[in-house]
Amino acid sequence: MTATFISIWIFAFALGGTAIGALIWAVKSGQFQDINEGARVIFDEDEPEGVVNDRFPSKGTQMNETSAP
């Protein structure tokens, strides 16, 4: 039983340690600097801000019309 408890504690501390480690790493490596720019990393020239890029596959929607061959 003691072995079980010891392994559970080691396990718990190791996992909790990863969280604390990740937080420290994030602060040190500047992940939280310039924080609002981070929100823009998902956009690029092909899928830019301000453009809807998903729609129903029907013929009538405006997105299809402007780019239909």
């Binding site: 079980t4 990740a22 924080i35 609002n36 956009f43 020239e45 301000g50 453009v51 299809n64």
Partner: protein
């Protein structure tokens, strides 16, 4: 075609399109995920159908006990856990891993690593879920909820989780962007912590390291974490990527999103013991769970504010984007299910709702209305980009959405209402138990009807996915024009005319 597309882009962006970048993203990054993610997704849809069938059988048995009562492997005690496990380890986990791999590649801006291994792991995973489900149906269930697969099926699944874990680390180490987008944090939370939780949970339960009430404590600590540290982060990662991406607007407050992640990481794994309210465990064990559940208000409110504020002014786009429609439905359900969950964790509320249908309604609001709807949304976005074809029919998508949305609403309202009545009646010692059973029958019928609607939606979705995999849709064009180079465009026109002539 090319010109008109460039026009769209230019009106919104001052910078010219960098063709190399587009080609890199589409051909290198998206295409590197193609076979792997499609296999995980297709398997997920198979388990969704299997799980729906098992769910329907279980649901009908609740109001018509004679239904299929002759076959011992279809008794309620086997069908119901088989439903739960195929949905969690088959549908939810496999669709989640598919989305995770695609998001990892896109957000770290590099090709997916270990593709062959991930392909093999998908096959291995399918085999284990199949073996485990058959084991449950043939009476080899462990009878520990959420871990019913016998150890020889359950523990090997951990290998699959650890492969995903290592892939995540590799992708993180070789990433081509400095900044980790918020979705990546959620995905790391899921893929780095959950494999250990899974291993810990399965070892504690299967090797009887924890017995009696400590087994139940381990059981609910684990089971709640399947939702809290596996499905929830994957669902939120997907929503945090897809909502801004589809409407073309950055997240309302990036600061709040990061606060939300860290508070979820700190609080969610404490919440599991609220399942043991009223049970013979030390009071503090339950109190820890109740406090953890109440603290969940912090991450939930940050996510709710963030998604709502991002969507404000863009709600009309729900009409044109299937992805957005499913994802926003899921995101709203996340707020609802979490607030409901925190309140249900209070001892005073739990006194009435514990051991009633209310709990079943609540868990479906979490795994279905929140997680599954977001998984559908992600699949509607990802699959056309991998196969480079359109979805075959808007009507089927609309059918899918309304069947599952109405089905889910009916399911939740019926069982929540019924569950509260049931709880109040059970707390009144003057009411004979059989009266309560009879009182619940209409609600149980409503559950079967709701389940049938949801299954019809799943069949519509399965048809769409099948046609997508068979590449029967139109070539993908529109704002995300995948083929930019003149050479590629020629092939597109040829192929397109071919498909058109075939369809005629």
């Amino acid at each position: 075609m090319k010109d008109s597309n460039l026009n769209i882009v230019e009106t919104h962006s001052t910078e010219p399109v960098n063709e190399n970048l587009v080609v890199e993203r589409v051909f290198e990054i998206d295409q590197s995920c193609r076979q792997v993610v499609l296999l995980w997704y297709a398997s997920a849809v198979f388990w969704l159908l299997a799980g729906s069938l098992l769910a329907l059988i279980a649901s009908v048995k609740m109001h018509s006990p004679g239904f299929l009562a002759g076959a011992e492997w279809l008794t309620f005690g086997r069908v119901r856990p088989a439903h739960l496990n195929t949905m969690i380890y088959g549908w939810a986990s496999m669709s989640g891993i598919g989305t995770t791999l695609w998001l990892l590649a896109r957000l770290t801006k590099q090709r997916l690593v270990w593709r062959e291994a991930l392909y093999l792991v998908a096959i291995y995973w399918n085999a284990l879920v199949a073996i485990g489900t058959i084991a449950i149906l043939t009476g080899h269930s462990t009878s520990v909820e959420w871990l019913e697969f016998p150890w020889w099926s359950s523990i090997p699944i951990a290998v699959g989780f650890f492969v995903i874990n290592i892939v995540t680390f590799k992708m993180l180490a070789t990433r081509k962007v400095d900044h980790l987008y918020i979705s990546l944090w959620y995905l790391f939370g899921a893929t780095i912590w959950f494999p250990f939780l899974y291993l810990g949970g399965t070892l504690l339960i299967h090797f009887r390291l924890a017995e009696g009430m400590s087994m139940m404590t381990a059981n609910w600590w684990f089971a709640h974490n399947v939702l809290g540290l596996w499905l929830t982060p994957i669902g939120l990662a997907s929503a945090y990527y897809l909502i801004p991406k589809v409407i073309g607007r950055p997240v309302h407050s990036y600061y709040l999103s990061i606060l939300g992640f860290w508070t979820l990481a700190i609080f969610y794994n404490w919440a599991g013991t609220h399942h043991l309210i009223g049970g013979p465990v030390p009071a503090w064990v339950v109190t820890v769970g109740v406090v953890g559940s109440m603290m969940m208000f912090v991450p939930v409110i940050t996510v709710a504010i963030n998604h709502h504020m991002t969507m404000i002014g863009h709600f009309r786009k729900l009409a044109i984007s299937p992805t957005l429609r499913f994802t926003v439905f899921g995101a709203m359900s996340y707020t609802m299910v979490s607030i409901q969950g925190s309140l249900t964790a209070l001892r005073t509320v739990n006194e009435t709702t514990h051991f009633t249908h209310y709990t079943i309604a609540h868990s479906h609001l979490g795994v279905y209305s929140f997680y599954t709807m977001i998984a559908f949304g992600a699949m509607y976005y990802v699959m056309p980009r991998l196969v480079e074809r359109e979805w075959i029919s808007s009507k089927l998508i609309v059918t899918h959405f309304w069947c599952v949305a109405i089905g889910m609403a009916m399911y939740w309202i019926g069982l929540s209402w019924g569950g509260i009545e049931q709880g109040l009646m059970m707390n009144d010692p003057d009411i004979p138990f059989l009266d309560i059973v009879k009182r619940m029958v209409p609600y149980l019928y409503s559950r079967s009807i709701a389940g049938t609607l949801m299954t019809i939606g799943h069949v519509a979705f399965a048809i769409l996915v099948w046609k997508m995999l068979r590449r029967e849709g139109e070539w993908l064009t529109g704002p995300t024009l995948f083929r930019k180079t003149p050479v590629a465009e020629e092939t597109l026109t040829v192929e397109e005319s071919l498909t058109q002539s075939v369809s005629k």
